[in-house]
Amino acid sequence: MILTPLSHISMPLLMGNNLNAWSEALVGFNLFGLPLGLVILAAIPLVFIALYSLTYGVYGERKISAFMQDRLGPMEVGKWGILQTIADILKLLQKEDIVPTSADKFLFVVGPGILFVGSFLAYAVLPFSSAFIGASLNVGLFFAIGIVAIEVVGILAAGWGSNNKWSLYGAVRSVAQIVSYEIPAAIALLCGAMMAGTLDMQKITLLQSGSYGFAHFFLFQSPIAWLPFLIYFIASLAEVNRAPFDIPEAESELVAGYFTEYSGMKFAVIFLAEYGSMFMVSAIISIVFLGGWNSPLPNIGSFALNDWTNGPVWGVFWIIMKGFFFIFVQMWLRWTLPRLRVDQLMYLCWKVLTPFAFVSFVLTAIWVIFVP
């Protein structure tokens, strides 16, 4: 099968459902029996992820922190330092790949790999638009919650394998933290799933579309949805080890936590995994509570803003923008707040977030049953 020439597709059609047909045509594109089209299609989000992680994630963090701290941030490599991250990655690539002599070599090498895979596997079930989802699982949300837990294994392997006391502290703290915070996070997401009546991420998103734009989002659909929304946001900060819950890598206490001994590309992989996770939790919160790829703009009479700004390509725009917004909030918090202590962190999880998550669970259930 040959690709439909793009010149045949006018701009409004590209934003309509014809992109679906276009992508289906791409999936069917084979060369010498190889499903090249499928590979290309799968590569698109990966390229995006890499670009995002490199340019927006790291560069954005540095520029945003610089803005908040009255500095300029990177300014030397390229215009406004845009190429700084690429230069950094090149530097990390050239570095010697050091494995400490007393380290457990297997665990040391495998740890960053598990971390990286764990954080990027969840991308498979994220619907980037009505026309694109890596794997449309009917238990997508469940998969996303579960796969994040794999990161714990990677952190523990990295921390234990390093044979460094600081790394061990970091790993033990991290495991306790992530496992604890999964409970309020999962219960909060369950509230969204209850309102949708499904665990399929694409269906959850579809249920939030409508001509009134943001009014259809689950956050505004029930009077108590803000509670699980807030709980999930706080818990997700802890799950991806961001401030003020960054105690596993608390640089003033544990040097660098579980990745103290890492350098070169292994360090870069851990770094990328962190930024990957940041976008992942931001995308999940936007999908479950803020309509995912749906446009937030409402139709006002004949001024059909919602219709104009919806479609597969717009969908990608909206979900990425929503994700970026939450990443910005994460960075904002990181550069404002001090760090909690270990016991205070656990207190917050078990005595504040978990009870409130249960409360919001019960209230949402009552709302779903009694209010049609």
């Binding site: 922190s65 908040m68 701290q69 009255d70 500095r71 006391k165 502290y169 401030a243 003020p244 960054d246 105690i247 608390a250 640089e251 003033s252 206490e253 040097v255 550069w335 404002t336 707040l337 001090p338 760090r339 909690l340 202590r341 270990v342 016991d343 205070q344």
Partner: protein, 400 residues
């Protein structure tokens, strides 16, 4: 013995009561781990090494190991003539060079028994108070970093930069000034200096409020510091604490008031002491609060210095600087209130040489740090970091 073999595994504690009776005790305690914190650790503020015995995250004992920055200050002094020691004093507490020089100059002047011009005194107090603000800004900023807040640190350094620029304008150096000489000053201040200092004071007042809102009032910051590392006033006095550390424990002791030197008796300023409303007296938050409030008092002192400073008519900053310093035989101890506490110089002269027979520096950081073992017992690792940060050590002065 089979039991002893098990004991080797570490899960059983063995105590010999007599030759034949061996008491075996199931030991549920986890194994203690020796954790060497430093000398290359981000929050030991330099090259301090703390050897911690830890039970999980609980510190059972932390012993400071010193000397990684030892530069033989006192021995060097015995081989350099009196004015030549001034640059060495800069390098003690390198965050407060002016205050160190001030203390040393007072000591030698007391030994020589000379009068110095009034304008010199005002300039000395002004630059010393500017330096005190700069030093406290570093202390507060790095304390923020210790607790995970990075932004206040950069705000502090941004404002400190203005002070360093001012002091550089006066002395020619940013940190190691060699400005306050025995009997005078290296140079008079530049003609517009007071105007610029006034501008800085007006600029800095709102910034302290900003810093207060961002860091000191922050809920997480307060929770991390309140009730941590409490030092009762009597124990603090017994340890010989001084400066913001002692005032943090509720003792109103400030050498500028209690053992006045220079023109401090003429100036109007408060000695801030925690009242126990915002913090528990003697905890980390109290020490932090004392530093925050002291900056405000220093600004007041600077403003008064600008207002009261005599004019430049017939003024020579080196008019009282002796050509050759050869004190009579004798000894002297003079002290001054440094940002970190009491810095004292004990100088002994044999009456023949132009070099001191003995010059001992009484370092406030060293004395404050000595309480580390008491303060750290039973604390969590993050609290240990909070305590070290609140002591505000400068290893240059600890090790000398």
């Amino acid at each position: 013995m089979q039991e002893l073999d098990i004991a080797g595994m570490g899960s059983v504690r063995v105590t010999r009561k007599s030759d034949n009776v061996v008491v075996l005790e199931k030991d549920l305690m986890t194994e203690q781990m020796v954790l060497a914190m430093g000398p290359q650790h981000p929050s030991t503020h330099g090259v301090l090494k703390l050897e911690c015995l830890t039970d999980g995250e609980v510190i059972t004992e932390a012993v400071p190991f010193l000397g990684y920055l030892h530069r033989c200050f006192e021995k060097c002094c015995e081989n350099v003539d009196y004015p030549g020691i001034v640059p060495y004093t800069d390098r003690l507490d390198y965050l407060a060079g002016m205050n160190n020089e001030f203390a040393y100059a007072i000591a030698v002047e007391k030994l020589l028994d000379i009068e110095i011009p009034r304008r010199v005194e005002f300039i000395r107090v002004m630059v010393a108070e500017l330096n005190r603000i700069a030093s406290h800004l570093v202390a507060i900023g790095t304390y923020g970093i210790d607790l995970g807040a990075f932004t206040p640190f950069l705000f502090c350094f941004r404002d400190r930069e203005h002070i360093l620029a001012l002091l550089e304008w006066a002395s020619g150096a940013r940190m190691l000034y060699n400005y306050i000489w025995v009997g005078g000053l290296a140079y008079d201040i530049p003609s517009d200096f007071n105007k610029r200092v006034k501008e800085f004071v007006d600029y800095f007042r709102p910034k302290t409020v900003e810093l207060y809102k961002l860091l000191t009032e922050n809920e997480i910051f307060v929770k991390r510091t309140i009730g941590i590392g409490i030092m009762p006033a009597d124990v603090a006095i017994n340890y010989g604490w001084s400066g913001p550390m002692l005032r943090g424990s509720g003792v109103k002791w400030d050498l500028r008031r209690n053992d006045p030197y220079s023109i401090y008796p003429e100036l109007d300023f408060e000695v801030p002491v925690p009242d126990g409303k915002d913090s528990e007296v003697g905890d980390c938050l109290s020490r932090h609060l004392v530093r925050v409030l002291e900056m405000e008092e220093s600004l007041k002192i600077i403003e008064q210095c600008i207002d009261k400073m005599p004019g430049t008519e017939g003024f020579n900053p080196r008019s009282a600087v002796p050509k050759r310093v050869r004190p009579k035989a004798g000894e002297v101890y003079a002290r001054a209130e440094n940002p970190r506490g009491e810095l004292g110089f004990y100088i002994q002269s044999d009456g023949k040489s132009t070099k001191p027979l003995r010059c001992k520096a009484r370092s406030s950081c060293f004395v404050n740090l000595s309480a580390m073992k008491d303060l750290s017992k039973g604390q969590l690792l993050p609290d240990l970091v909070a305590i070290i940060g609140s002591i505000d050590i400068v290893l240059g002065e600890v090790d000398r």
